[in-house]
């Protein structure tokens, strides 16, 4: 491979660290050892001593810095480009969140410090809980779960504990076919059997099918609402009633809370337990950008089973940890959960306030419906609107052979991140603009999608061979999946 002397160009392949550098170069200078040298062969059994030094890259410090900086410049992020990824709200993370989380009073705490030294943090955690209680319309929240799926698991463990406490063992969990994939996975992890409930053609739950499947063995129904096809199922109250009549509970996956902040409260339509994804709704970093957090909110009847400890406020307005919950399922995470993430969540909620949060959902819903309207003539919409915060469209250019994958790849040429593809409806694209995009950006996206639809009919090869402006155009996905080669070897 030829040396790339930092020519910042997308057409240049960046070599691996192993391929860069030259023998003898080193990016670190260790200080002189101040302890006597020992021969490692005298300290370890012979079979544990390697014959040669490991083949580590030999590269100078500046070359190393430039290597990673060049890679970083190729990272695609919402800070740099429009990112309309449906199903997993990719919202902007305001910088003020980072500033708050870096405050020494939060960042430098030790989890074993006595409670009288961490009153500020406990007050913040207590406040986050109060906020989430108000937003969900449910009386208590647990902040421990370390991610959305972990919140689901905690929620279902609470459901199991509730039935067990009543002397019942309910082994089935109903999951609509429009649910997030993590829902049936959670059932399996919690030793419950997931039973699929059908959706109607409009994407909402088939109540007749639900009535047939709910019985005294049903522990709960897990529903994502608004669901993954982007519609709010207004039958949710009826669903709750059908379940409650049989002693079953209603679990709501809060992945799509971005559509209902300040508009509706799950507790008001009969939800017994739900989780939040702070990275989707409250602008904390997405995976890779930091640890997650998946707070769980519960109805009164599940309160005794919540994980311990809970932060409580005493009559003298100081804060304390409550471990005295004999029916608790125990701990699901060390200490107080992901504190740094919860500080960001608090900051987001406080900086927007009640009106601001409502505005988030209003704008997220308006933006999605605006885009759907602008694209309605050029694409096929299998689920009728109006939509919540995201929607599904299917590119239909059958005679040309252009598919959803080609449209997604062509978007990359226009600096737009591909939307979620091929799920939950075959050949679809799931588009979620979020609330923070300007009308200018939304129009740019709509214009681009209309242009691609024209290209698909007039010059389909341009779409089918996209992207044209990336270091690699189309990777061999089939080869990579069928014969993965995950180990780099020299030469």
């Amino acid at each position: 491979m030829t040396q790339n002397h930092g020519v910042a160009d997308v057409d240049v392949t960046i070599p691996l660290l192993f391929e860069e550098g030259s023998p003898g170069s080193c990016a670190v200078s260790l200080s002189k050892s101040d302890v006597p040298q020992q021969d490692v062969r005298k300290m370890l059994p012979a079979e544990l001593v390697a014959d040669d030094s490991p083949p580590l890259p030999e590269i100078a410090e500046m070359d190393l810095v430039r290597h990673f900086t060049r890679l970083a410049h190729r990272a695609f992020s919402v800070d740099a480009n429009f990112y309309p990824l449906g199903s997993c709200t990719m919202k902007y993370n305001p910088r003020i969140n980072e500033r708050a989380a870096a405050l020494p009073g939060f960042a430098n705490l030790h989890p074993y410090q006595p409670v009288d030294q961490i009153q500020g943090l406990l007050e913040l955690l207590y406040a986050v809980r109060e906020f989430l209680q108000e937003i969900s319309g449910l009386p208590e929240v647990c902040l421990q779960p370390a991610a959305g799926a972990h919140g689901e698991m905690t929620g279902l463990m609470l459901v199991n504990a509730y039935h067990r406490d009543r002397g019942e063992q309910r082994l089935n969990v109903l999951v609509p076919d429009s649910a997030h994939g993590t829902n049936p996975a959670t059932c399996t992890v919690c030793s419950r059997t997931a039973i699929t409930v059908k959706s109607r053609p409009d994407g909402k739950v088939d109540l007749d099918d639900l009535r047939k499947k709910v019985d005294r063995h049903t522990a709960a129904l897990m529903i994502t609402n608004p669901n993954t096809v982007g519609v709010f199922d207004e039958q949710i109250g009826d669903l709750a009633e059908i379940l409650h009549e049989q002693g079953a509970l209603l679990y709501m996956d809060g992945a799509n809370m971005n559509a209902m902040l300040g508009i509706m409260r799950p507790g008001d339509f009969g939800v017994d337990v739900m989780h939040f994804n702070t990275h989707k709704t409250f602008s904390t970093p997405h995976g890779g950008g930091g640890p997650g957090s998946g707070p769980v909110a519960v109805a009164e009847k599940l309160r005794p089973f919540l994980p311990i400890p809970q932060v409580i406020k005493k009559t003298d307005a100081t804060f304390e940890l409550d471990h005295n919950r004999p029916k608790s399922i125990g701990k699901v995470r060390a200490f107080f959960g992901q504190v740094g993430v919860l500080v960001r969540c608090y900051t987001y909620i406080r900086s927007l306030g009640t009106e601001g949060l409502r505005n988030v959902s209003d704008k997220a819903v308006l933006s999605a419906n605006y885009l759907a309207k602008r694209l309605e003539k050029a694409y096929h919409f299998p689920i009728p609107g109006p939509y919540a915060h995201e929607f599904i469209l299917v590119p239909k250019f059958e005679e040309t052979g252009v598919t959803e994958i080609d449209v997604a790849k062509r978007l990359i040429d226009h600096g737009i991140h591909p939307p979620t593809m091929s799920w939950p409806v075959h050949h679809c694209l799931m588009i979620e603009p979020t609330e923070t995009e300007s009308l200018r950006t939304l129009d740019y996206f709509a214009d681009t999608m209309l242009k691609i639809a024209r290209e698909a009919r007039e010059t389909p090869e341009v779409v089918k061979n996209a992207p044209h402006h990336t270091p690699i155009s189309r990777a061999d996905e089939v080869g990579a999946a069928r014969k993965p080669n995950v180990r780099w070897l020299p030469g």
């Binding site: 091929s422 799920w423 996905e477 089939v478 999946a481 069928r482």
Partner: protein, 126 residues
């Protein structure tokens, strides 16, 4: 391509070919096309007992992972181990070389409830 008339179908796209008490199960061309390039097929162990309507395995493509369902109860007597090395057979020959499992049916009458070729083709025209 028309679909074979000699089998029974589930709405979830599995075909069932009956030969005596042995039922061979695979997926249809419609399903294979929708999944696109198949990369992995996870099959049950020989001897596994299946319930009609329950999942017996999973199929993975570059796009998605789906469960595989059996329309008949019984014991898995043979699995197509060749699919480990040749998952593409399900794309190329879904009705022959791409078969998945053979089940010794305990209640063959269950098959009466499945769709025939005409019913399947009506819902999923090719």
């Amino acid at each position: 391509m028309s679909i074979p008339q000699d089998r029974k179908y589930l709405p979830s796209h599995e075909w069932h070919l009956v030969e005596g008490s042995i039922v061979t199960i695979g997926i249809t061309k419609v399903a294979a096309d929708q999944l696109s390039d198949i990369t992995y097929v996870e099959l049950p162990k020989v001897g596994t007992m299946l319930q009609a309507g329950s999942a017996f395995g999973e199929i993975e493509s570059v796009k998605a992972t789906s469960e595989l369902f059996s329309g008949v109860s019984g014991k898995v007597v043979t699995i197509n181990t060749e699919l480990n090395n040749h998952p593409e057979w399900v794309n190329q020959q879904p009705f022959s070389q791409g078969w998945m499992i053979k089940v010794e049916a305990t209640s063959p009458a269950e098959l009466e409830k499945l769709w025939n070729a005409a019913q399947y083709a009506q819902v999923y025209p090719t």
